[in-house]
Amino acid sequence: MKKELKFKVNGQPYDIYVKPKTLLVEVLRDHLGLTGTKRGCNSSSCGACTVMLNGMAVKSCSMLALQANGADIMTVEGLAKGNKLHPLQEAFLDHGSYQCGFCTSGMLMALRALLEENPKPTKEQIKEGIDGNICRCTGYNSIIRAVTAVVKGEYKEAK
């Protein structure tokens, strides 16, 4: 029996019907076509599916979609404003903070949530912020350099 799910994704309101066991990541990817959010393990261990729910980072593979009823979700597709990239995205480009790119969306959302909670994180706090996100390519340090540059104000957010 499908149930109603009303929520906002990247500012866009949706009113859809989903099976109760449907995961949030399935609704985002398979129903809404927002394939930027990845699935790496389906057990909340790798972080590739990280999105923001009401400003907090959550693993969308380990949440039922219906638990997001009424919530405000942001995915990687919501980071850029029109054709202007978010400072984190700009910094990732400059610092080579991604290689295969499969963890990148989740990594960016974990960091976006971190900066929302704490706009001036220390290096240790940045590391803690992405400890739930595995990157098998970069070794994390280029990601930490990118965030540090954003924290220092080297990148301006588009108005």
Partner: protein, 757 residues
């Protein structure tokens, strides 16, 4: 000022914008109209006969469209060592026998993944379990169960390398060490699991979208296994979420999807679950190592002997190559006048072992660098000094094996020595360990038996000056699309944004063996450079005709300016010359071709990179726990084409190779992998990641494009050895079996205490 305009500069990757916005479409993201979803049924037994498969109930389930077994295939066995039919031993869909827990026996196509999964439970497979063997040392005994018919003592393959007179040389040594080591398995853990979308149409053509390191290999192997013509199969590699050696053999996503698609003429998608990825894809080869090393009092190494038995798992895969390379790289990076290697690969009833980043060299480097440090200590010689004394130098021939042209090992040692001195006196329980290494820039061997050039490229210049670069090279995240675009732009004298790369689509790109053995920068880079040079020559002919200078002048293109080399102010715009050239050729676009196949470069590789790494650890002697504080590397890879790319390769390798030394392992019980999830398989996360420093080394490789050589896999070799040596320096215990876990360190510390009492 650099003589180069593009290479050596810090650029954004060409796939950057799509990757940081989540808009890159991986195989994982693809959906085709009418597409069905496949799932694979796998053996729960490590070794068993298949007596009967009854799929009637599964086929009746609503939503199930087809069930296939080995009987639906043409009954061939595949393998990547195609020159040797007896080493092509893997059916992928087993017909008579399963040989490891996870061996595929059937596959289902259904309207969605849940239905396909449900159908798997309805397939009845009747097995007759057979005695199984898991340890290679057991597998080679007379009474061990035979895993493949006709393979005596389960010895899949052996390799012997020898030069000089080892036995005589040991007689002359002042000191000899004999040590034994055990190297653990390691999982690749690509963030995108193995997956494929295969569409076979009524016209008999097949298209495969797959996450792969070699679209050409998959095309060729798929042709072998389906009986289709190579040219009727088009393999396209979308952005790929990591490979690390796991994705260049035909796998249990691609092949079952193809057989299902051929049966139904519908697109089929199969994505392996993370658990399947851990248990039923290939992994780094575990090895038992015996090493004997002999030296003179002054530290001159006279002879080395290595004997290795590797755990092959159920099939050959690329494990035969790992067996060969671990033997060759056991002599690296030193000048042994006498050397002998004997390696045996034993079949076992475990998941097959194969290629993984470093390809046998992380094992040989861990054991060799551990033993060398002990030799240095026995002789009272500084670890840097013993490496300096014996290290390879430029223009050195590894007797009968390889010729090394550029080699910056001694520069690396100098820089690392300075780094250690600058660090000064260490706090208590800290230790710094050294490890030196080398690696190849692509393999010369052709066990795959390709009739094509190893690498090839086509460059086409359009009327607006935009350049289309077609290459079979596979960007799996390592950045070859960017590096090759940079090489193309530099050679042609245009901007990076003038290049549009089309890669790894067998329908439009020339064949390339793919991304393994650190081959793309050198081999494909040479092909791209030659194709671009071919185009440039054609443009310069037009420029010379137009400007008509004295014919003694040479022309070149740089920064989109076609000019006289000696009078750079005299020239014309590249864009104008392109327009005129195309108009002058009756509208034909400018096309250039280039290829590269190594010749007369020995048996292993056309070029070798070298480096030295140090790891600093802090050990807690109460618990055995230790922290990776800092890893500093001097790596020489010839001319640096893409500096951001090299930093990424280097730091990423430390995460992976540090994990190999520090925590990654796949414990098993009766052939069952006990930690098949990311929660249970420990790898280095951000909080465990050490500081990483890179010391720049300047070398030039005559064989490489613009002097470049590998910078990908070699970096995976040194870290486990450096960690082992650092732990020893910190608290005086040696761990000879990987990974070096706190439990092992603590146990060793306790034993040491007992002995000293």
């Amino acid at each position: 000022m650099s003589k180069y305009s593009v290479i050596g500069t810090r650029v954004h990757r060409v796939d950057g914008p799509e990757k940081v916005t989540g808009s890159a479409k991986y195989t994982f993201d693809l959906v085709l109209p009418g597409m069905l979803y496949g799932k694979v049924l796998r053996s729960p037994y490590p070794h068993a006969k298949i007596l009967k498969i009854d799929a009637r109930k599964a086929k009746r389930l609503v939503g199930v469209k087809a069930v296939i077994t080995g009987k639906d295939t043409i009954g061939r066995k595949q393998g990547i060592w195609r020159r040797f039919p007896e080493l092509c031993d893997e059916e992928i869909l087993c017909r008579e026998k399963v040989r490891y827990i996870g061996d595929p026996v059937a596959a289902v196509a259904a309207i969605d993944e849940d239905t396909a999964e449900e159908a798997l439970d309805l397939i009845d497979v009747e097995y007759e379990p057979l005695p199984a063997v898991f340890d290679p040392l057991e597998a080679i005994k007379e009474d061990a169960p035979q895993i493949h018919d006709g393979v005596e003592l389960n010895i899949n393959i052996n390799r012997h390398i020898e030069w000089g007179d080892v036995d005589e040389a040991f007689e002359k040594c002042d000191h000899i060490r004999e040590d034994q080591y055990k190297c653990c398995p390691q999982a690749h853990v690509c963030m995108e699991t193995h997956d494929a979308v295969v569409s076979y149409d009524y016209g008999g053509k097949m298209t495969v979208w797959t996450s792969t390191q070699s679209s050409y290999y998959i095309q060729r192997l798929m042709a072998d296994m389906t009986g289709l013509r190579e040219g009727d199969i088009r393999v396209i590699k979308p952005p790929t979420g990591g490979g690390f050696g796991s994705k260049f053999e035909l796998d249990s996503a691609q092949f079952p999807a193809a057989i299902l698609s051929m049966k139904l003429c519908k697109p089929i998608k199969i994505v392996l679950s993370r658990e399947e990825e851990f248990t039923a894809t290939k992994r780094r080869t575990p090895m038992y190592y015996y090493l004997k090393l002999g030296a003179k009092k002054d530290g001159t190494l006279l002879a080395k002997e290595a004997r290795v038995i590797t755990e092959g798992g159920a099939y050959t895969a690329m494990g035969a190559t790992a067996l060969y390379l671990t033997g060759f790289f056991s002599s690296f990076p030193y000048k042994y006048p006498n050397y002998r290697y004997d390696g045996y690969r034993a079949y076992t009833n475990t998941a097959p072992t194969s290629a993984m980043r470093g390809f046998g060299a992380p094992q040989s480097t861990f054991v060799g660098e551990s033993q060398l440090d002990m030799m240095a200590e026995d002789l009272g010689i500084d670890p840097i000094e013993i490496r300096r004394k014996n290290g390879m130098t430029p223009n050195y021939e590894v007797p009968g094996q390889a010729f090394i042209q550029s080699c910056g090992l001694h520069q690396c040692l100098d820089k690392i020595e300075t780094h250690i001195k600058e660090r000064g006196k260490l706090p208590p329980n800290h230790g710094i360990g050294v490890s030196a290494y080398g690696f190849m820039s692509g393999g010369i061997f052709n066990w795959f038996d390709t009739p094509y050039a190893f690498s090839a490229a086509v460059v086409r210049i359009n009327v607006d000056g935009k350049v289309d670069l077609f290459t079979g090279a596979c960007d799996i995240g390592q950045g070859s699309d960017t590096t090759l675009s940079m090489i193309c732009a530099e050679e042609l004298g245009v901007k990076l944004e003038d290049i549009r790369i089309h890669a790894a689509d067998t329908g439009i790109c020339p064949p390339d063996l793919g991304a393994w053995g650190s081959r793309e920068t050198l081999m494909n880079g040479n092909a791209v450079k030659r194709a671009a040079a071919d185009c440039k020559r054609q443009l310069l002919e037009v420029a010379a005709a137009k400007m008509a200078p004295n014919i003694v002048y040479d022309f070149d293109i740089k920064d989109c300016w076609v000019h006289l080399v000696d009078r750079p102010e005299r020239g014309v715009s590249y864009y104008d010359i392109v327009k005129e050239a195309i108009r002058g050729r009756d509208g034909n676009a400018i096309m250039g071709r280039g290829y590269y196949t190594p010749h007369r470069k020995g048996m292993i590789s056309p070029a070798y990179s070298f480096g030295v790494q140090v790891a600093e650890v802090e050990v807690d002697p109460e618990t055995g726990r230790y922290k990776l504080i800092n890893v500093t590397t001097a790596h020489e890879s010839g001319t640096v084409i893409n500096p951001v790319g090299i930093e990424g390769q280097l730091e990423g390798a430390i995460m992976m190779a540090g994990g190999y030394g520090f925590c990654e392992d796949q414990p098993m019980d009766e052939g069952k992998i006990l930690n098949p999830s990311i929660a249970d398989y420990k790898l280095i996360r951000s909080l465990d990641m050490p500081e990483t420093e890179i010391l720049e080394i300047d070398t030039y490789e005559p064989e490489g494009p613009f002097g470049a050589k590998e910078a990908g896999e070699g970096l995976t070799n040194p870290t486990a050895g450096a960690i082992g040596n650092a732990v020893y320096k910190a608290v005086g215990v040696r761990i000879n079996d990987l990974p070096i876990t706190p439990e092992k360190v603590l146990r060793a510390l306790k034993e040491k205490q007992k002995k000293s009492k």
